[in-house]
């Protein structure tokens, strides 16, 4: 079990304790000088350093930070659920008025679920996929000695209702996999709150949810707060934080670098890290502005290399898609239409953003555009030549193959797109070889140049992609895409898996490359902020259909359809803040990233 221990010399804490909350008799949390370290075969790793927190009932505290900042470990310490090799010590660690340092496993168990509810990130994996949500909720009741099957069932249904799930009798008998993302997340909250705990801890409760669903869940969490419970939640999304939190603690490298009232911290950040974080958020307002502090990369080195022969027209649009239809066989002999009459045009040198929630058909549209999926109807031309079509217009893979270098893909998970046998250098030289670019002798040199172009040092050449950070991997994927000297890049959620500061760097890189190489981008994302930031034109999709299309400015400022309006309304926004002055004050900030 986790070793909890009082930190005797933890008096002189440097961290900020939210004013006015420390020492209150009815405070839910009162933590001073918390340190958590993990014993590993390679020595002790300090993960949480000198953290002090406090929380009063009816308030929400947000832990903000990027991967590896220690926020999850901090949160788990509050429910006594750190790994067996964790060592916890603190000057003071009071949870619900009890000294958590002295709690045994049995006592912790009495608290968990009953007095402290813990909500994890992704309900699909955070609820047992083999059991019904009813069983999961019931389990919490049984674990805390609630007797009577009928009584428990009643409470299960009530909990589901309270979490905003209609038809609880039906839903209780379904498994998490059978529920939609929103219902699933509600069920997850229901199982954590069925016993009305005073304290609810939520770890990234809305991450990976579509915007509209996210809005609903935030509302639900806000409701909990209104019921007088304390809420500790973790998020990397400052906009979400601004909506829900009363207090914010910004964590970096295991320490709290800034904390205070949410409105104050977000609108007037004092610490440079906080400022950088806020600045890195892509929004429409920041359009055209660099999100990160890094210097623009230069593509000058590439200008000298011989261009690849191509039939890509210098006059025609980069991509013209007409009336694309794609359906798949569904259960019972039915067919499910995934893409239904989608048309769009990607002009040369511009970015077309496709936005939509999961299941809207945007990825299938991208695959058709890439020539990897054959449409049932419709056609695609790429740089003026026939690229994909049906019937008489059908284009064979053999015909397509020589044009493939013109359009390249960068997707969300670059690692899976690398041959596991390949080193970074090999990934790129292989692409060069595939495009017959350069000679076998100078491909290494070219690969180094390409790495440089995406801001990676040559020292990474022999590394395995697995050992790189997420941002580095995405850069390698971009370098590989560039290796073939494409005209169009298809970017399918390229930054969705990245921390906000890394996302900022990659978005900046993409912007630099576009301006210097004259690339056309087909940019797919569920994140409206990102789409707003990067796109010239926007295509809004829902259920396989195009809902609305227009310039980014039009779509975001003057949406024509209810759906788009709904979508935009669901996006939480940061409160207005002092403009760019603070940003300029943080030059050369490098955000460290652990993946």
């Amino acid at each position: 079990m986790t070793d909890y221990r009082t930190n005797n010399d933890g008096g002189g804490t440097a961290s900020a304790v939210p004013a006015g909350s420390a020492g209150e008799a009815n405070s839910l949390l009162n933590i001073e000088g918390l340190n958590v370290s993990f014993a590993t075969p390679r020595g002790t790793v300090d993960v949480v350093k000198d953290v002090s927190l406090a929380l009063a009932p009816g308030k929400a505290l947000a832990l903000v930070g990027e991967s590896g900042s220690g926020k999850t470990v901090t949160a788990r310490t509050l429910v006594g659920l750190n790994a067996a090799n964790a060592k916890v010590n603190a000057g003071r660690l009071e949870v619900l008025g009890r000294n958590a340092l002295k709690l045994g496993e049995r006592q912790w168990r009495g608290l968990r679920g009953k007095d402290i509810g813990y909500v994890l990130q992704d309900a699909l994996v955070s609820l047992d996929p083999l059991r019904t949500v009813g069983q999961e909720i019931d389990e919490a009741l049984r674990a805390h000695g609630v007797r009577g099957k009928a009584a428990r069932l009643e409470r299960v249904h009530q909990a589901l209702l309270d979490a905003g799930i209609p038809d609880p009798e039906v839903r209780a008998k379904q498994r998490s996999g059978e529920l939609s993302g929103g219902l699933r997340q509600r069920a997850l909250i229901a199982q954590a709150t069925v016993l009305n705990p005073q304290l609810v801890i939520a770890d990234e409760p809305t991450t990976a949810l579509d915007a509209t669903v996210q809005a609903q869940i935030l509302e639900l969490l806000a409701g909990l707060k209104e019921q007088g419970r304390g809420l500790v939640f973790i998020s990397h999304d400052l906009a979400v934080v601004s909506h829900l939190a009363d207090e914010v603690a910004v964590m970096q490298g295991g320490r709290i670098v800034e904390s205070g009232r949410a409105a104050e911290v977000l609108s007037n950040p004092r610490h440079e890290y906080t400022r950088a974080l806020i600045n890195a958020i892509p929004t429409g307002a920041a359009k055209g502005r660099r999100l990160s502090a890094g210097a623009p990369v230069s593509a000058a080195s590439l200008s000298g290399s011989p261009g690849r022969a191509t039939e890509f027209s210098e006059t025609a649009p980069a991509i013209v898609a007409r009336d694309l239809v794609k359906s798949y066989p569904g259960p019972g002999g039915t067919r499910r239409t995934v893409v239904d009459g989608v048309s769009f045009t990607l002009e040369r040198g511009r970015t077309l953003g496709i936005v939509g929630e999961s299941g809207s058909g945007k990825s299938t549209t991208a695959r058709i555009a890439l020539g990897l999926t054959q449409p049932d109807a419709g056609s695609v031309t790429l740089g003026g030549f026939a690229w994909s079509g049906t019937g008489a217009d059908q284009v064979s893979e053999e015909q397509r193959r020589r044009h493939r270098p013109d359009i390249q893909l960068v997707n969300q998970d670059p690692l899976s797109s690398f041959d596991p046998r390949f080193s970074v250098g090999r990934v790129i030289t292989d692409a060069l070889e595939a495009g017959s670019i350069g000679t076998s002798g100078d491909r290494t040199e070219r690969a180094v140049t390409l790495l440089d172009q995406v801001g990676l040092p040559p020292s990474l050449f022999n590394r395995r992609p697995l050992t790189l950070s997420g941002g580095q991997r995405q850069r390698v994927a971009i370098a590989r895409a560039l290796a073939l000297q494409p005209r169009v890049l298809l970017l399918d959620e390229p930054v969705s898996a990245l921390d906000v500061s890394i996302q900022a760097q990659v978005l900046d890189l993409l912007a630099d490359l576009q301006s210097q190489l004259g690339l056309s981008y087909l940019f797919i994302s569920h994140d409206l902020g990102v789409i707003h930031h990067v796109s010239d034109d926007v295509l809004v999709m829902k259920d396989g259909k195009v809902v609305e299309t227009g310039t980014a400015a039009d779509i975001f400022t003057n949406p024509q359809t209810d759906y788009t309006r709904q979508l935009l309304a669901a996006v939480p926004e940061l409160p207005a803040r002092e403009p760019a002055a603070h940003v300029a004050a943080a030059p050369g900030l490098t955000v460290k990233e652990a993946s």
């Binding site: 659920l81 496993e105 813990y118 955070s126 083999l130 674990a143 199982q191 990825s363």
Partner: protein, 336 residues
């Protein structure tokens, strides 16, 4: 061993999955039955031709071993009676025709209808294989529940013993068990087939190495399950460690072991021969080995038929169990 690890993974492609056998339940059952019949037929056919074409003379075995000097007429009579003088293809057709009417033929060696010979062997074999499987699972689950994630030492010990078990030759285990627990200690009968007590040692001989295999796959999937967020959720609900292990992780962890077991039962029936020999038990394994050595084709074919049937049935049962344990299997293609 293929450790088929099924981690819940959110798919980013929007291509709906399709199931191989689409159609109504009736159709699925029909297809499945047809497939099973095909496998049975093919296994029998393969055995028939391979054994017929392999060199070796069944007539000698039919007429007794050493100390036999049959007359030419006797040899001819034997060949005629068993149809050995006919073309192989005709023998095959006749065999199939007999099989269709439930006639497995007459044993070359025992001169008795095959089912009379094998009838008394079937139950002991299934008892043995069944108990071996039970032991294997009991040992495997005990190891999994007691040692996985219980600190480096226990984990290492559990892991080590599992690998050690899997590395043991079953007959060697059998001999050691027999010498120690039956001959020296006298806790169990040395051999024979009477009652549960006589079943324990042979079942352990087969079960211990199997336990090693099952424990290995179960351990790795158990470890994986324990690392899943839903386990954390369950613990955050206030569940005890044991409740989490038994109620949540275990259910996920036994799936690969179940697949392995389906395969194991088929091979247990034939590999039971070593336990059957050491513990002097009747059984199909011994029948099979003796029949092959003696080229007693009708018995060999019948044992192959039985084992194939068992294999098919066990797979069916495991399929059903799989669906009970993992109801998601049913949802496949339902657009979940």
């Amino acid at each position: 061993m293929s450790t088929a690890t099924q981690t819940a993974r959110t798919s980013h492609t929007e291509i709906p999955r399709t199931t191989a056998t689409a159609g109504s339940t009736g159709q699925v059952i029909l297809k499945r039955a047809a497939g099973s019949l095909f496998v049975l037929w093919a296994a029998v056919t393969l055995t028939f031709f391979v054994l017929r074409l392999v060199p070796g003379d069944p007539v000698t075995t039919i007429l007794g071993g050493h100390s036999a000097a049959p007359s030419a007429e006797t040899v001819a009579a034997v060949e005629a009676q068993y149809g050995l003088d006919q073309p192989v293809l005709l023998q095959y057709v006749n065999y199939l025709a007999g099989l269709a009417t439930g006639n497995f033929g007459t044993s070359y060696v025992f001169k008795v209808p095959v089912l009379d010979i094998l009838g008394p062997q079937i139950l002991p074999t299934f008892q043995l294989a069944g108990l071996a499987l039970v032991f294997a699972w009991a040992i495997a689950l005990a190891f999994t529940l007691l040692t996985v994630g219980r600190g480096r030492v226990l984990d290492g010990v559990g892991r080590g013993i599992e690998v050690f078990f899997a590395a043991l030759p079953p007959f060697w285990v059998g001999i050691m068990l027999a010498v120690v627990f039956a001959v020296i200690l006298g806790w169990f009968p040395v051999a024979g087939d009477d009652g549960f007590k006589s079943l324990v040692l042979p079942a352990l001989a087969l079960g211990i190495p199997l336990a090693g295999f099952i424990a290995q796959v179960t351990r790795s999937s158990f470890e994986e399950a324990l690392a899943q967020p839903f386990v954390l959720s369950a613990r955050a609900r206030g569940l005890s460690d044991l409740a989490v292990r038994v109620g949540h992780a275990l259910r996920h962890a036994i799936l690969p072991g179940l697949t392995l077991s389906a395969w194991a039962v088929g091979s247990l029936v034939s590999s039971a021969v070593v336990a059957e020999i050491i513990f002097a038990r009747p059984g199909l394994g011994r029948s099979l080995v003796d029949a092959i050595i003696n080229r007693d084709l009708p018995i060999t074919l019948a044992v192959v038929f039985i084992i194939a049937t068992v294999y098919i049935l066990v797979n069916l049962v495991v399929d059903v169990l799989y669906r009970v344990i993992d109801p998601r299997t049913n949802d496949k293609g339902a657009g979940a």
